[in-house]
């Protein structure tokens, strides 16, 4: 059994069957799906309008009208969480997108090019990794002004070297493989080989890392929002809801409970999905002895 990090894939139909039989994957898929659905529905409908504040109805407990209660501005917490999911997912997706969009071309290019390009990329990676991620994200948002866009950039920047590194490692382990040599013997250039042979074979690797970074992105966004550096009102965000709940925890603990649970459930769902994907796509980790 080879030890290279690239997965030996099974045929596509097979993968789907295996995936649906995998418990982690299934639970993760369902949980993530529910959260995503919630975010989608919130575009068209939420239980209550949260743009018009009803301060008089503030901090109400759980009731049929407000299943999760109301916050300190009298807004319906369930509606806030639904719209907040939108924000969390958008920030995390775009941040992962930035990471993949820049990191994967960089990493595969470095692996194909080798030599100084590879060395340069790795050194740049060293510099980025030497900066404490969360703190730098705080600095970026503080410098350029708090807001969802800057939060995305701040989180996205740190995804770039992660994906560059993974894509490079995956590509490097593939380049000496015989099927790549065969392609080279067929006169294909590095760019074409990267597109035809390298990318399809590291896609599952990237997918798994993608779900992990997605989950980390949600946590990071929550952290930044908690510090007041994420999405700004009136756009609700889970992190800021927690921050606002903190002073009121003794009076209205449900203010902190539900946004916190929303984060935990979403991240848990994504992690399960990632674990499941890994199990399904990487038979190496499944071998028993």
């Amino acid at each position: 059994m080879s030890l290279d990090p690239v997965f030996t894939p099974a045929p596509e139909r097979h993968v789907l069957m295996k995936a649906l039989a995998n418990r982690s994957f299934l639970i993760g898929l369902v949980v993530t799906g529910v959260i995503a659905l919630m975010a989608l529905v919130s575009f068209f409908w939420t239980p209550h309008d949260i743009t018009r504040l009803q301060v008089a109805a503030r901090m109400q407990g759980l009731s049929p009208a407000h299943p999760f209660g109301t916050d300190h501005m009298g807004r319906d917490i369930l509606s806030m969480i639904m719209i907040g999911a939108r924000n969390s997912i958008a920030v995390a997706i775009v941040a992962v997108g930035i990471g993949m969009g820049l990191g994967v071309p960089l990493g595969t290019w470095a692996a194909a090019r080798g030599g100084w390009a590879d060395e340069a990329l790795m050194r740049v990676n060293d510099v980025v990794f030497a900066f404490p991620a969360l703190l730098t994200a705080v600095m970026i948002t503080a410098i350029f002004g708090p807001g969802a866009v800057n939060a995305i950039i701040a989180i996205g920047i740190f995804n770039v070297p992660v994906f560059a590194r993974i894509a490079r490692a995956g590509a490097l382990s593939l380049w000496p493989r015989e099927f790549i040599l065969a392609a080279r013997a067929s006169g294909k250039g590095k760019a074409l080989i990267t597109i035809e042979h390298i990318l399809p074979n590291i896609v599952s690797l990237l997918l798994v890392q993608g779900t992990i970074q997605f989950a980390l992105g949600i946590l990071a966004e929550a952290g930044l929002s908690y510090l007041g550096l994420g999405a700004q009102p009136p756009m609700p965000s889970w992190g800021r809801m927690l921050f606002e709940a903190q002073t009121r925890m003794a009076v209205a603990p449900h203010l902190a409970l539900f946004p916190g649970l929303a984060i935990v459930v979403t991240v848990l769902g994504l992690n399960l999905l990632g674990d499941g994907l890994r199990d399904v796509l990487d038979p190496r980790l499944r071998r028993e002895r």
Binding site: F131, L134, L135, M139, I143, G239, Q246, P253, V267, R289
Partner: protein
């Protein structure tokens, strides 16, 4: 090995230099006038000018960068604009909180996670493994500041066992030490839990990976029972990926405690830098960031040395 480490060191120094350029140039474009912040809303323009030249803010950027760089090389990080005291002193006071906190959190998470990881790997597939890993899975998903909020309300407000926050200093004698320790306990726990969850998972999968290696079968063929194989052959090999994560976590803990410091209002490095950013105390921000970058590089170097100790293949050649 010396060549390997020398190369890592050289790369580290180059990284540090590049980082200093990045930090300085990024912070130079920060909006906000430190003199205005110090003197407030009603200050007169003359007073502002006087203060600016007092702080050297009217000098060319390149000169200021060079001064800053040579200053740092000689251990002089400049004077804080807001707290008119040397940055080194400020940082030293904060490190006295952040470093023990990071060490406590790391110790705690390691002490919990590694045994749990090994235990789960050894009992793979059984109920105890499933439970431990389920708990770890949830632990990874919990934002540490939320966990911190819950801890405060249970242990500080509810049972009144531990302080809700603040840091009394390390004080005199054992009593003072105990006070300081108590103040850092809840923050350390809230930092350690998610870290421990990650570490336990890494430990378990590293152990499983190693347990699948050929040399484990060789050891079993010698007649060693499972337990002996686990401790004597698997653990040291599994330590290598665990070390990587430990290094990352320590680096994270040094700087990433910013949110937890806010929850517990601890005077640590993270909050120093947070405050300094909002007060446009550039010199402090620059100094602390450089210090953190340097410490991350040092931690990585230490991890590299640990690799070499744990893995003889790195000691020769490579």
């Amino acid at each position: 090995m010396t060549a390997y480490l020398a190369k890592r060191l050289a790369v580290g120094l180059a990284t540090l230099f590049v980082a200093s350029l990045v930090v300085f140039s990024v912070l130079e474009i920060l909006p906000g006038d430190p003199a205005r912040i110090m003197l407030g809303m009603n200050a007169s323009p003359e007073a502002l000018d006087a203060l600016r030249s007092q702080m050297g803010l009217d000098r060319p950027v390149v000169l200021r960068y060079l001064d800053w760089l040579t200053g740092m090389a000689t251990g002089d990080f400049g004077r804080s604009y807001t707290y008119s005291s040397p940055v080194v002193e400020l940082v030293a006071e904060r490190v006295a909180v952040s470093l023990p906190l990071a060490v406590m959190a790391l110790t705690l998470s390691t002490a919990i996670a590694i045994p749990v990881g090994i235990f789960a790997a050894a009992r793979r597939g059984r109920l105890s493994d499933t439970l431990a890993m389920g708990a770890a899975q949830v632990g990874v998903a919990i934002p540490n500041f939320w966990f911190a909020m819950l801890l405060v309300y249970v242990f500080a407000v509810g049972f009144r066992l531990l302080p809700a926050g603040g840091f009394p200093g390390w004080g005199e004698g054992w009593g003072g030490l105990w006070q300081g320790f108590k103040a850092l306990l809840l923050p350390a726990v809230s930092l350690a839990l998610p870290q421990a969850a990650i570490l336990a998972r890494v430990t378990r999968s590293a152990m499983l990976e190693v347990l699948g290696e050929d040399y484990i079968r060789t050891a079993r063929a010698k007649g060693l029972p499972r337990r002996a194989v686990l401790w004597r052959h698997a653990l040291r090999n599994a330590l290598i990926p665990v070390l990587t994560i430990l290094g990352l976590q320590f680096a994270f803990l040094l700087a990433g405690t910013i949110i937890i410091e806010n929850v517990f209002y601890l005077p640590g490095l993270g909050r120093l830098i947070f405050q300094a950013i909002s007060q446009r105390d550039l010199i402090v921000v620059e100094g602390v960031v450089m210090l953190l970058v340097a410490s991350i590089i040092v931690v990585n170097l230490l991890v590299d040395i640990c690799y070499a100790v744990a893995d003889p293949r790195l000691r020769t050649g490579r």
